[in-house]
Symmetry: C2
Subunit: 187 residues, 2 copies
């Protein structure tokens, strides 16, 4: 079965408390662009990531707000920041990396929160049934092309109303010459 | 069969004419570190790569000199430079990308020469026989780990006296959480 690929650049999810510190009390994120997953969007706001080793500017905040603050970067980014973040699903932040987030109004240092996102496919129970993926937690996907191959340990992120899409970070995308909207095959 | 991985960061190979322009007439490269392939070395010299879109500094020159000038970058680098280099074996530079190389004594703009290196394994005819790879031009290799998988289209670069080693660029390495000296399996 085929699945469209969405390439995720480094980004930040924020909880209300941290948005207030970074952008000011009662600040509201504005939608710059709707993402494919219903309700999710790239906001007009960006922050700077900082460690003792380096900084990365213009990191997009995705909305809506969450119950936790999470910074998703690639391994390439992690070298720039001198971090060694674990590969994790969203929200699984225990013993993940510390990073300082800087906004126009203030800064927040999260003790935990910086991860490399697990490769994952967004899908619903309907997709699970339709494509006979019952009982599977992960799959592998085949990427075609000159630098193609197979990516293992792709987590099936099952949520109601999901848009079927494979999310890969920029390292996976660049290694395999993948562009946003390319197609992979679940095997 | 198992093979050790060598991670190749962006680098430059130069011909004599271009070394003279960049570093001065009769300049000689000095060995900073011997590489695993016999006679090959990282030199003490670095250059800057420049295009209309961006620059990358501190790009290492590898020695010895060759009959052609070749700039090997990753897809990630190519976005920084606004280039779209083809995936190529060493020396196969027709219709590859143009880039300006800047040294302390001058600069050279090569019309062709910038590529993304094909994934490749250095090996000798003895390895081909020992591991029963006769007649194969490419193989696939398995990478273990949390972001593991299979890399296709790995070219078998057969040369006398080769040290058996799989060369991957930093995009492939970072996508799969590979460090220099890690092990892959030829399948």
């Amino acid at each position: 079965m085929k699945v469209t690929i969405g390439v995720s650049n480094r980004h930040v999810h924020l909880k209300r408390e941290h948005l207030n510190i970074l952008f000011g009390k009662d600040f509201e994120l504005e939608i710059k662009k709707e993402l494919t997953q219903p309700g999710q969007y790239a906001s007009t706001s960006v922050v700077t990531l900082k460690t003792g080793k380096g900084i990365i500017e213009n990191v997009r905040i995705l909305g809506p707000l969450r119950d936790y603050t999470q910074v998703e970067i690639s391994r390439t980014d992690s070298y720039k920041l001198g971090l060694n973040p674990p590969v994790r699903n969203s929200g699984d932040l225990e013993l993940s990396e510390s990073v300082t987030i800087i906004g126009p109004n203030g800064e927040v240092t999260v003790k935990e929160g910086c991860i490399i996102a697990t490769r994952h496919i967004h899908l619903s129970e309907e997709h699970i049934k339709k494509y006979k993926l019952q009982g599977r937690e992960t799959v592998s996907v085949r990427i075609k092309g000159e630098k193609g191959g197979i990516l293992d340990n792709v987590y099936l992120k099952v949520l109601p109303n999901s848009f079927l899409e494979l999310h890969l970070d920029t390292d996976d995308a660049n290694a395999h010459l993948i562009k946003n909207g390319d197609i992979a095959e679940i095997i």
